[in-house]
Each structure stands twice: as C-alpha cells, then as structure tokens.
Symmetry: C2
Subunit: 202 residues, 2 copies
C-alpha cells in the first residue's frame, strides 16, 4: 500500500496526489502537520522534515519532483518522463524550475501570506518577477510544457501557479498560465484541492 | 558540434564540463560573461539569461540539471540517469537539491563572497545549515549519492560543495563531503577548475 505523508493545502503534496489520481492508484494519506514534522518518527522518514514523503514497501522517497520521476518511470515509462533524450532534458528543466524558481517565488510568497512564514520577501518577489514571464511566454506557444501531452513537468510546475492568487500574484496578468492550469484541472480524474477546483473540459 | 555557453568559474557550467569530459565528447566553449548575458543574442538562447546553455544542432537547452539529464539519456541510457525507477527517483531528489538547496545555500554564498552578488545572506546561511548535515550523513554511509557508481546526481551536487571554501564554509566540518568531492576529482578524465584541482586516486 502506498502511503503519502502530506497536508491538504500543500501544493508539493498535490503534485503527487495528481500523479496518483491520474494513474488510478489508491493511497493512504497520512496527514502530517507542522507538529508531526518535528517528531523523531518523521525525521526517520526524511532528514529534511518536509512533506511530501512517499512510502511504498521498501522505498521511502522525499521531494515532490523525485516522487513524480519515480512514478513516471514505474508506471508511464517512456511517456510521462519523456520519450526522447531531448524531452527528458526539457522535462528536467521544468523540474528544476519547480524546485527553485517556483518554490522560492510563488510558493514562498504564498507560505508567507497564507501561513505566516518568515521569508526573504524582496528576493521571493524578484524570483517570481523573473520567472513568470518566462513560463507565460512558453505557454503562450505550447498547450503543455513539453511535447503535446501531459508530462510530469506539468504536474511539478502547476500547483503553485494555480494557487498564485493566494500569493497576491494577479493571475489576470498571466493568461496563458491560467489557461494551462485550467486545462490540467479539466483532465479526467483531476483531484481538486482548496483554491484549485476542477474545471469542465472545453 | 556541441557549444557550451559558460564561464570558467561557474560551478553550474562545470557540471556539464565534467559530463562532457567523462563522456569523451569534444565541445566548443563559448565564454559568456555578465555583459554578454545581457545581449539580445544570448536572450534568444535562454530567456533566463543564465549560463550554462548547451547547443547541439537543433537542440538548445538551459539549466545544468536539464543538460545532465539529456546527456545521460543520450549517452549513458539506463546508467547515469538511473537503472531502475527507484534509482531514477533518487537521482531526481539530488537534482532537486542541486537546483534548490545547493544553488540557494553554498552557491549563493560563494556568489556573494567571490563575486559581490547581493543575496539574502541569512536565508542562504540557513539553507546551507539545514542541507549540509543531510548530505554529509548520506555520504558518510555511501561512496556515491545513488547506487554504487557515478551518476548525474554526483555531477549535479558536487561542484558548489567542492568550492564551498570559497563561500566561507569550513569543509573540515564535513569530511564525508570532502572525501566524495576528492573521489570525483580522482576519476580518469576529471577536468580541473580553479578551486577544484584533480586528485590522485587512492
């Protein structure tokens, strides 16, 4: 049985939740709030003390990008993780953006505004201001981040952009980003989360 | 012909340089200083205006983790990028750490100290303080980050840790990290860079 240590409002956890739902896998969600993350039991799962953590038999894996990469290789080999070396490279690019610019821009700003986290505000604003035009321009030309279909690049990059309104980022300025997160939310089996409802396909 | 837009002192560029050297590929290095990164020609290669950028025929790829992933898939399939789904996931974990904690901890501190960059010092110190014990503990138990051999996880994570002395991080506190970067620097064909000399295998 798959266990996912997560919280309902975590965009990082939602990346994994989307993958599991689209793969039609069942999982046991283990709610893991800030207090639980300080426990020795949780530290034994991950020295970073961050969610999500994915446990399946002998495998314990932290980091949402890493979990997506594992799930793609295991359940959608040669597709979700890239069909060619070029696609693999391009998907890795968006996983890097998810781990760095999105985490330290829109996601950090949301953490501060919604959850009161202390962050370097100016730096987070600067990261978001530099990155958002780049992904907006890409999505103005492409329906999906890589290739002509959903890949783990879309799963890794989308939650904190769909939730950017909660970070006081005006999504009306970034229409291609909004159309893309709506496109993902219209996929069959999309699991809604607070702030990111399912959409009707059009 | 492969072109690599880079600077001699960039640890991110050195990740790619190591991969190309270990693969015994030849490349044309295109020195790209801060002024050159402001040119329209460079912006046409990468909207992020960051090095390294890798160009090979029709492929233009930015981001050191992405370039490593491409090179692994193209030249060492099923090995450098992971032999199993579990290994692929674990390698992706260290690529995330390279894109986030290493970039925003040791690499940012080096940028500030060596090159006068303005960074959020307290945050960079905190990121480094949280991450270094995690990778030190892992390397105290493992000769390589994933599996029993060199993978792109090692190439992505090592340069800014080998250069951590230039960020005023005392490497004597992290002996397993130092032994691992020496191990990489002792591999046949290792390309030295300023601050990271080749080692004799022992």
């Amino acid at each position: 049985m798959i266990q996912l240590f997560a919280t309902p409002l975590s965009g990082n956890a939602h990346k994994v939740r989307m993958a599991l739902a689209f793969l039609d896998l069942s999982w046991d969600e283990r709610p893991t709030d800030a207090a639980a993350r300080q426990s020795d039991a949780f530290a034994a799962l991950t020295p970073m003390r961050q969610i999500p953590v994915y446990v399946e038999g002998d495998l314990t894996l932290r980091d949402s990008q890493a979990i997506l990469t594992y799930l793609a290789a295991r359940h959608r080999p040669g597709d979700w993780g890239g069909r060619t070396p070029e696609e693999r490279g391009e998907i890795a690019l968006w996983l890097s953006h998810a781990a760095n610019e999105i985490a330290n821009g829109p996601a950090a700003l949301r953490l501060a505004r919604q959850f009161g986290a202390t962050i370097a505000q100016d730096q987070a604003q600067a990261v978001a201001a530099r990155f958002l035009p780049v992904i907006e321009a890409h999505l103005a030309q492409h329906r999906w981040l890589v290739g002509d279909r959903l890949t783990i690049a879309d799963l890794a990059a989308s939650p904190y952009l769909a939730l950017a309104g909660e970070a006081d980022i005006d999504l009306a300025r970034w229409p291609a980003i909004g159309e893309w997160t709506d496109r993902i939310a219209a996929l069959p089996g999309f699991p809604a989360m607070p702030g990111w409802p399912a959409q009707t396909a059009n």
